[in-house]
Symmetry: D2
Subunit: 136 residues, 4 copies
């Protein structure tokens, strides 16, 4: 099972007047995590979209916030796939502060595969191994 | 029970290269919804923060996406309070396309009250009526 | 000469840890201003893009910041067209705090017209009157 | 004269429905550039703000767009200081696509130094060498 690690540094724009990172940004970080997961699994998300017309549309997203992230913090996004079928995939995320390993947030996103017309489709077989889908 | 309705128009910046609204933006819209709920309940969120030093920190957020929102769509955010105690409050949201009433997404956010030092605190009594908190 | 006025309320996400609006957001507000200008000139930007395949790509953008905008401020974006030709258009913006009329920022954006393939094109004649283009 | 280079990868959220990066994001990239410049000059911007209460408020910002950046592009932000006094500093930026060195955009930001109360102040002497300010 692949666990990918994305690394990012908190941007000034991501903070709000509380002095901490605004909560919607964690969902952007999850995106960085799953792109990194794809890369680790041998898939370039950009190519899957451009060449095969497969889009990973978000059907559900959830985040639990443990500790606030702050400006200039280095953040690690650990990403795994909880389950994958030919029609949907669920990613789990753990976001940690790099400096001390403190867990900042955990969450998941559930995706359906869409074709270019934004209608539901099946993930092409060539990607099944990467997503560890054994049977359809 | 108060149901507040915020109204917004999808901004160009909120779309992504799929041609639809990027998923983290719905959480920003939820913020507009709960500020509107506060206003309907007689609370100006800005003042609660500036005058009483009470911050509504997000402890958990979740969204289920039903249909994509698109550029220039008018969106309604219906907001209610699911539960409120002196230490936490949970808001429920329903986001609809104004034109035809189609549900775009539903979700919730769970908040804890923080003081200016970002430590957990109780909601001051003067706000209990607005949040329909009867006993502590 | 058309002067359009867009009205917006500062969102929490738009603030940063300085307690004021982060500077890149003013460019998003300019977008709201020029869409409103188009509407006032009888053009729905969404349709120009969807039906005629005309995109208004930004070639240059500038902003001078006078006073900080703050959370929950109501902001007016006054937009005019400085010059328009069949190949480019320049919008001027004045952003004011609604409460007292204080000027928050001024700026401009210069745009070229692109076709769906993102190559430069001329604005179709049907839009010339709206943009007050007399000769090509 | 210091030239700093920041490196970033275009995020999905930064694209819009034109399929290219939305124009306000380049100003966020400039921020990454100037933070990197500070680091190269021996200043941690976070500390300057937290320990000395010095804020770098933006007084003016400008960007010229040459070629569109796209999702997953690696972008280099070359940053130099055009001029610095004890009351203001101007940064110049050149943003390039890492893959082929193509210039995507150029721009500048002009900043004034503010104290914690958001009033104009002078840059403390301890930072003058880093900003190459010889006389006040």
């Amino acid at each position: 099972m692949i666990t990918a690690e994305a690394r990012l540094r908190v941007r000034y724009v991501e903070t709000d007047q509380m002095g901490i990172v605004y909560y919607s940004n964690y969902f952007i970080w999850m995106e960085l995590g799953r792109v990194e997961w794809c890369r680790a699994a041998g898939i370039r998300y950009r190519d899957m979209e451009a060449e095969d017309g497969i889009l990973l549309a978000v059907a559900e997203a959830q985040c639990r916030y443990a500790q606030p992230a702050r400006y200039d913090d280095e953040v690690l996004v650990e990403t795994t796939v909880r389950e994958a079928h030919s029609r949907l995939v669920t990613f789990d995320y753990k976001m940690k502060r790099a400096e001390d390993g403190a867990v900042l947030a955990t969450g998941f996103t559930k995706h359906v595969f869409l074709g270019k017309n934004l209608e539901r489709t099946r993930l092409p077989k060539k990607y099944h191994t990467a997503f560890e889908i054994s049977r359809i």
